[in-house]
């Protein structure tokens, strides 16, 4: 089921915000077409990690990092076109961010910025992404209303549609269910199960059971360090390698 090809390779990654060390030298790899779960309490460096991978950490003035991150064997520091790298990675933030544009423009934004002007191509791309995000049926008659008018759950799916709109090979979801109801969460989880056939998914979640349901492998991150990384069954079994993992997964701390 899990192919052996390495999609993302992280070696000895340190991230500093000023003098504070947010990630303390972590190494792991993400394989192609797997769902890679990352669990851990708040402030353990999960979001920071995602920001390193798509190089948006650069926009945080006081942040710097060292170590090596490769995406498709290519060192992200040395990519020729950082915007291509970012398009290769879809990113879904914890709180849904509908850009103050119409639903259509929200999804067509990334393709347009990448230089696609052809109306038919945009139309089909928008429809495809909205279908993939299980939102098409709800919004197909009002594509020209503002994206910010949608409900929270719909907005989050719109965000997913937008993240898919630039045809990424990797989809990163950062605690996507934090602001939406359980029913919508389940719907999106179904969507993800569909999507992992065609792409690699990194699922950062504060709900450990979500990782259990979806992830092939799960990494437990705590205070900037990897406590344990193993197949999901092992992490959630009665005897993971670390006692701490067991405690966290079973809600004894965290």
């Amino acid at each position: 089921m899990v192919s052996a090809a390495v999609k993302i390779d992280v070696r000895d990654l340190h991230v500093y915000y000023g003098h504070k060390e947010a990630l303390k030298g972590i190494s792991f790899d993400v394989r192609a077409n797997e769902v890679f779960g990352i669990i851990g309490p708040a402030q353990s460096g999960k979001t920071t990690l995602l920001r390193v991978i798509n190089r948006t950490l650069e926009f945080v003035a006081e942040a710097r990092y060292k170590g090596q991150v490769r995406v498709d064997q290519e060192d992200i520091r040395q990519v020729r076109n950082v915007f291509e790298l970012r398009r290769k990675i879809g990113m879904v933030a914890p709180l849904p961010v509908g850009l103050p544009l119409t639903i259509y423009d929200n999804v067509a934004f990334a393709p347009r910025m990448a230089g696609i002007r052809n109306r038919e191509e945009l139309d089909s791309r928008v429809e495809q992404c909205l279908r993939q995000a299980a939102l098409w049926d709800e919004v197909k008659d009002r594509l020209n209303t503002l994206g910010t008018r949608l409900s929270g759950g719909q907005q989050q799916r719109l965000t997913i549609a937008r993240a898919l709109s630039h045809q990424p090979e990797i989809l990163c979801l950062d605690e996507f269910s934090i602001a939406i109801d359980p029913v919508t969460t389940m719907r999106i989880e179904e969507v993800l199960k569909e999507l992992c056939r065609s792409m690699t998914i990194i699922l950062v979640t504060n709900l450990v059971q979500q990782a259990r349901r979806l992830a092939n492998r799960t990494m437990f991150l705590f205070e900037g360090e990897i406590v344990e990384l193993d197949d999901t069954e092992v992490i959630f079994s009665d005897h993971p390698a670390q006692q701490k993992t067991y405690d966290y997964v079973n809600g004894i701390f965290g």
Binding site: E84, R87, P111, A114, G115, I116, Q167
Partner: protein
Amino acid sequence: MKMRGMFHSRELLKEWLIEKLIWICGISAIFFVFGIFFFVFREGADYLLRGFHIREFFTSIEWYPTSRTQVRYGALALITGTFSVTLLAMFIAVPFGLGTAIFISEFCSPRAREALKIIIELLAAIPSVVWGFIGLTVMNSLIIHLFNAPLGLNVLNGGIILALMSVPIIVSIGEDALKAVPESYREAATALGCTRWQMTFRVLLPAARNGLLAAVLLGVGRAAGETMAVLMATGHSIRIPGGVLEPVRTLTATIAAELGEAPVHSDHYQVLFIIGILLFSITFIVNLTADLVVRGIRKK
């Protein structure tokens, strides 16, 4: 995949060019400030280095720029003029401005606060030449009637006009400073049983001290640099005033009044530019100090 590579290097070049353009605009303010200093200095430099009597300039009250026989450039009377009008203006504007700022910030319902702030903003928008005109007409006859003065265009007139002109800046910066005092100070003071005025005078004013000082400094800068209003409202008399009912001439008004008549690059013309350098330096220092004072509070 299809989408890659559509991002031509031409696009990246465009991005790069626009970023450079934005950067140039961003630093333009620095250029303009240096440019102002450079060009004003450039026009006055020749005389400043050649025959300028710096001592005479600061100590003599003899300002005879167009005299045939004995040309004198003593600016003491002009400096005193600027100083006296500004001082009087601050004497009026500081209590009233800070009082209004305190009223708006602490003693006022939210609705009235919005309304008052709008009025203050409109006050700030009145052009200086209109202020000058008000000084020339309304204030002039008021002063003549009330003080039985022979002449209504004098230090008092200019001082009141400048006070009214600098009140809005004192109010708005002062109100910002009061607003910046943490709400917890107010809550703590109220919990200790302070009345609102006790809280204001014992807690808020000391806490907002720096911001209020900056407000006053910016008011001084505004008043000292004002031109048209004082040109029209203070009368034209180059001498050290003996009282508020005597006319004076300020540094700014002198430039405005005489530059038109001074032949380009003549000594007189250059001395007017030297006055410009002096004014620039004064306001520069005042603004710098105000900024440092404000930064002081932010750091805390």
